[in-house]
């Protein structure tokens, strides 16, 4: 496995692409090895904030050596991040976590399901699956709050995209599962990232259909590298580290096979 490292680098660009949703490109050779579904830890400059912010990788550009993150401002740390302009120093630790298993998509019809700020990793995943060309069919189902459909056009370059919105202002009114039903979509395997109620629905749906689902989990983290045991999730089998059915989301995940975790 590629060694994790902390690097001080620069912001290439940043724009607000929806209310409170920011789109940042970061210059880093971590792009060479980053995988869809992996994440970065970003260290705030304000020293009153001790802990790095885990943010998923949205897109990688290996040729130009840059990574893209798309995140929602949710507190003081992401607020600071949202103020960074082009050229600003940024300290990141990467590439963290396991990422989505591309091999699980070979020959299969794949759903990429993203909810809210769980949508960004689906972009790189759609891109990888398209470039690999081994999946039989890739369909993105993205759940938004409203018609601010961030990243929809980007994902549309690599896959068919269906949309659900909470307020019904675009696509199916309701959630991603409603969009799947309304459009009569079908798949052989699911990869998903989003809020816990959505992931629970995905897990249930996969069980009912008898198909595999890979879901990306999140939890409050401190170290991001597997040492502090802060970000654990309940697993069906004993975990490799502590042997107590508590896997570390930062290192054993964040992507888990839905049937391996109790959520």
């Amino acid at each position: 496995m590629e060694q994790k490292k902390k690097v001080k680098t620069k912001v290439i660009s940043q724009t607000e692409i929806a209310d409170g949703i920011y789109d940042m490109w970061i210059e880093t050779d971590l792009a060479q090895t980053a995988k869809a579904g992996q994440f970065l830890c970003i260290y705030p400059h304000n020293e009153s904030m001790l802990l790095p912010r885990p943010i998923s990788i949205c897109e990688t550009d290996r040729e130009k050596g840059r990574l893209r993150i798309v995140y929602r401002v949710a507190g003081k740390g992401t607020e600071e991040l949202s103020l960074y302009h082009t050229g600003r120093n940024i300290r990141i630790l990467g590439n963290l976590g396991n990422g989505f298993p591309l091999e699980a998509a070979v020959g299969k019809r794949v759903f990429l399901i993203g909810g809210g700020i769980g949508i960004p990793p689906m972009l790189q995943l759609a891109k990888d699956l398209k470039q690999e060309g081994k999946a039989a069919e890739v369909t993105v189902i993205a759940g938004y709050r409203n018609k601010q459909l961030f990243l929809k056009d980007d994902m549309g370059k690599y896959a068919a995209v269906y949309v659900a919105t909470e307020d019904g202002s675009a696509g199916t009114e309701g959630n991603v599962m409603d969009a799947i039903a309304e459009n009569g979509l079908e798949a052989d395997v699911i990869m998903a990232c989003g809020p816990m109620p959505m992931l629970r629905a995905v897990k249930r749906y996969a069980e009912e259909k008898g198909i595999d689902a890979y879901i990306s989990l999140e939890e409050r983290m401190a170290c991001g590298v597997g040492a502090c045991l802060g970000c654990v999730c309940k697993t069906v089998e004993k975990d490799a580290h502590s042997h107590v059915n508590n896997a570390r989301i930062c290192t054993d995940g964040p992507v888990f096979s839905a049937k391996d975790v109790n959520i």
């Binding site: 020293e47 170290c223 590298v225 107590v244």
Partner: protein
């Protein structure tokens, strides 16, 4: 220039260690830090059997610090002996194992199992605020601390460090009780019990409601307690609490600590331990200090 220190006959190449629970058994951080550069690795607490720890969320950030309520999740002594100790033995650093338990028998069980493993020292965790039974219950009353320290000393084949809780009225009373019971050294401070409330949800942020506060926010309290304790006992002290850089570490040394440990700041910067070790050397060069011992307890 001498940066070596000795605690209970064990020599450390420099006074910089890791604080228990913030560094696992070194494996995860060995991707960033050359463990050979550290005085010692102090492991995450280990119990006689696996502990699953507390529900999540276990972590909350606070101003200049963080709360944790991990609840001492650990794989138990069997896995620890089989996996973690052999890993650490590959490095030229001292191994200090943090021992936790719910009953005195639990502690003794672990201490006994560690007897012939070749680890250098034991740190007895009688001060974790995040587990309901055992742990801190032994560290908040002088007579219970005396009792467990004596019991551990009878069984231990390695020198014993008692890790003290700051959640007491007078930490010097606890320090004296541990010393009187035969403790070889003290480490301090463990975390301060704290709480954070989400006003928008009107809920506790941590599932455990309370957690242990660590990070730079606690450093002045820790330095004060190390100073007071150094005045009260003769055994060496390993000082910790919010150390982020060499200057912070030097405060602890000047206050009377023989060694220091880096805790929460490993999370803010995985290279903190080595930067502290190098920074202490730079300071000694800057002030022409030949021997680190001339710094220890030298505050005026």
């Amino acid at each position: 220039m001498n940066t070596k220190v000795k605690i209970a006959g064990v020599e450390f190449k420099n006074p910089v260690m890791t604080a228990s629970g913030t560094f696992g058994s070194g494996m995860e951080y060995s991707e960033f830090v050359d463990l050979n550069r550290l005085g010692a690795v102090v492991t995450k607490g280990v119990a006689s059997v696996p502990w699953e720890g507390n529900p999540t969320p276990r972590i909350a950030e606070t101003y200049g610090g963080m709360l944790n309520a991990i609840g001492l999740q650990n794989p138990g002594i069997d896995v620890f002996i089989e996996r973690d100790i052999p890993f650490l033995k590959k490095f030229d650093t001292r191994i200090i194992v943090n021992v936790c338990g719910k009953t005195v028998e639990d502690y003794l069980d672990v201490v006994e199992r560690l007897g012939d493993t070749g680890v250098d020292m034991l740190e007895i965790n009688v001060s974790c605020p995040n587990v309901k039974e055992g742990a801190i219950a032994f560290g908040q009353k002088a007579d219970s601390l005396y009792a467990i320290t004596s019991a551990v000393k009878k069984k231990a084949r390695q020198p014993v460090i008692m890790k003290l809780s700051p959640n007491v009225t007078d930490i010097t009373e606890m320090a004296r009780a541990a010393e009187a019971a035969g403790a070889d050294a003290l480490s301090m401070i463990n975390t301060l019990t704290g709480m954070k409330i989400d006003v928008h949800k009107r809920k506790f942020v941590l599932a455990n409601r309370t957690g242990g506060l660590s990070g730079p926010a606690v450093k002045p309290v820790a330095v004060r307690m190390v100073y007071q304790t150094a005045q009260a006992v003769k055994i060496p002290i390993i000082g910790m609490g919010g150390i982020a850089n060499a200057e912070d570490a030097l405060e602890f040394l000047l206050a009377g600590a023989t060694a220091v440990a880096v805790g929460a700041m490993n999370f803010a910067n995985p290279y903190t331990t080595v930067e502290v070790a190098e920074g202490i050397e730079d300071y000694m060069k800057q002030y022409n200090i030949e021997d680190i011992h001339s710094l220890i307890g030298s505050v005026e």
